[in-house]
Amino acid sequence: MRRYRFRHSVLWRLLHHRLFVLGAILFGIIVIAAALAPLIAPLDPNKLSMRNKFQPPSWNYLFGTDNFGRSLWSRVIWGAQLSMFIGSAVVLINAVAGTAIGAAAGYFRRLDNMVMRINDALMAFPAVLLAIAVTAVLGPSVSDVIIALSIVYTPRTARIVRSSVVVLREMEYVQAARAAGAGDWRILSRHVLPNAMAPLLVQLSFLFAYAVLTEATLSFLGVGAVPPTPTWGNIMAEGRQYMTDAPWIITIPGAALMITVLGLNLLGDGLRDVLDPRLRIQQ
């Protein structure tokens, strides 16, 4: 019964956080479009149709067409699917690896120094530079972009988990559990990590935004997924030379990218206000 009321109140507070709801709507639009891509964008995003090139947005071509006559509606929707896929994969890897590394460093003091120095070193690299260097090494493909973004962002997640674990480890209830004979694994999984989830969840929602944004940056620079893969960054990079005559080729995917990032940032702010009041930006 108590558990029910607690959950009820977090959800209730989230649903009454206006900016969180706005973020959920914006991000929700993109997620739904990505999920329904085969239904709402049946035209092949890579189908060339030179007769129809540079069509401005109209009823036939909702978002217009590009320099090869490809439907921008299809390309942007399928691009959304790819962005959501890359974002979720990076978030998932971060959640697992970042928690494991952060928890190990924070809980086992002997590991702390070494693990955190490697972490600090990875964080010392400028994020985008490290990401493009890693894709230079691995090669330009969707899976390599996911690996590159995970290498760049996992240290940041690990640091946040570690800082919660270091505090929680010294809590009296953890010592009580230890005195009662609980082992390290049980203490970590049952007593420490569940209480470290709030800042992690907040971090992951911002991380999703960074991942989508950095992926778009990489493909815009030409080091992400190879064309003609429809990613928002690729579409904008190709549309760049036609931006005077066909501005819709860059403005529409750019707007989709902005809506995604804005939605996720609003979600992150809302989650932080509700779940982690210590970090709250005062209202």
């Binding site: 010392a124 690299f125 260097a133 090494v137 944004l213 990218l257």
Partner: protein, 313 residues
């Protein structure tokens, strides 16, 4: 002060060692044979073995590592395959360009970010506050290359006020530099302005709630004095710690901004190096920029310790 700098410099050594190891390892993580990957598909076996020899890839790994450190100590980061020029020289030629642009963007960030954050905190929960925070949110959500493209379309193509790109050195023609650098600087500064405005506002609000502010008001000081002498002076101290992050983000941001506006800085140099598989340039450029960032962070920590006598390392 000397001891703080010394301590921080010593503390940064393990980080720089790991950074250099990661950078060294990069070329060995290329799937397959790095020399073949660098040479490209049409290379003859002789060209491949030349590259292997030039990069020292034909030596044992430990010997290569030893060479890497020996050369690092001498400031020799190898020769760029694409430019045929020493990596250090190529980087140092481009660095002032990136630094000048970053300084311009940093000035805009500090002016707009600090200003709007302070005003938002002082006018908490008013229309002005909401507008400022809405702009800050848009700032952190608008991709900088998207803003750059939109600005090119509007201000360069349609209105013709500013050039679409290119670069004029600051020392040769300051006005021309300002014209070519303004749009890149704005597109770089936007994200950081949003971040800084949000942090400034929350720090200011935190400080404004302190007892000493109440005391200052109670003893009859003018609001202006309370804000400038008591609130701002104390709020700016924690904000200095953010500057390190801001500079790191500026360097990251300059990669795409320089490519977009054709500015021949470090970002463009490294993007070209990556696209052309010029690994010595990628390694060297990464090593130099990261070392500089570590040094900037030491500088920030030292400033912080100087500004806040409570901080002792």
């Amino acid at each position: 002060m000397g001891s703080i700098i010394a301590q921080r410099l010593i503390g940064s050594i393990p980080i720089l060692v790991i950074v250099s190891l990661i950078t060294f390892a990069m070329i060995h993580l290329i799937p397959g044979d790095p020399a073949t990957a660098i040479a490209g598909l049409s290379a003859t076996s002789e060209q491949i073995s030349n590259i292997r020899h030039d990069l020292g890839l034909d030596q044992p790994l430990l010997a290569q590592l030893g060479h890497w450190y020996l050369n690092l100590a001498r400031g020799d980061l190898g020769r760029s395959l694409l430019l045929g020029q020493p990596v250090l020289e190529a980087t140092m030629q481009r660095l002032p360009i990136t630094l000048a642009l970053s300084a311009y963007a940093l000035a805009l960030t500090l002016l707009l970010g600090l200003g709007s954050g302070i005003i938002a905190a002082l006018k908490q929960n008013t229309f002005i506050d909401q507008c400022a925070m809405m702009f800050a949110m848009l700032g952190i959500s608008l991709p900088n290359f998207y803003l750059g493209l939109l600005m090119i379309v509007v201000f360069a193509v349609h209105l013709g006020w500013l050039p679409t790109g290119g670069y004029v050195p600051l020392t040769e023609d300051p006005i021309g530099w300002l014209a070519t650098s303004t749009m890149p600087a704005i597109s770089l500064a936007l994200l950081l302005t949003g971040l800084l405005a949000r942090i400034t506002r929350s720090t200011m609000l935190e400080v404004l709630r302190q007892d000493y502010i109440r005391t200052a008001r109670a003893k009859g000081l003018s609001e202006r004095k309370v804000v400038t002498k008591h609130a701002l002076a104390n709020a700016l101290i924690p904000i200095t710690t953010v500057i390190g992050i801001v500079i790191s983000l500026l360097i990251s941001g300059s990669v795409v901004t320089e490519s977009l506006f054709s500015i021949p800085g470090i970002g463009q140099l490294l993007t070209q190096a990556v696209l052309n598989r010029d690994y010595p340039m990628v390694q060297g450029g990464l090593m130099i920029t990261t070392t500089l960032l570590v040094l900037v962070n030491i500088g920030v920590d030292v400033c912080y310790a100087l500004l806040d006598p409570r901080v002792r390392y």
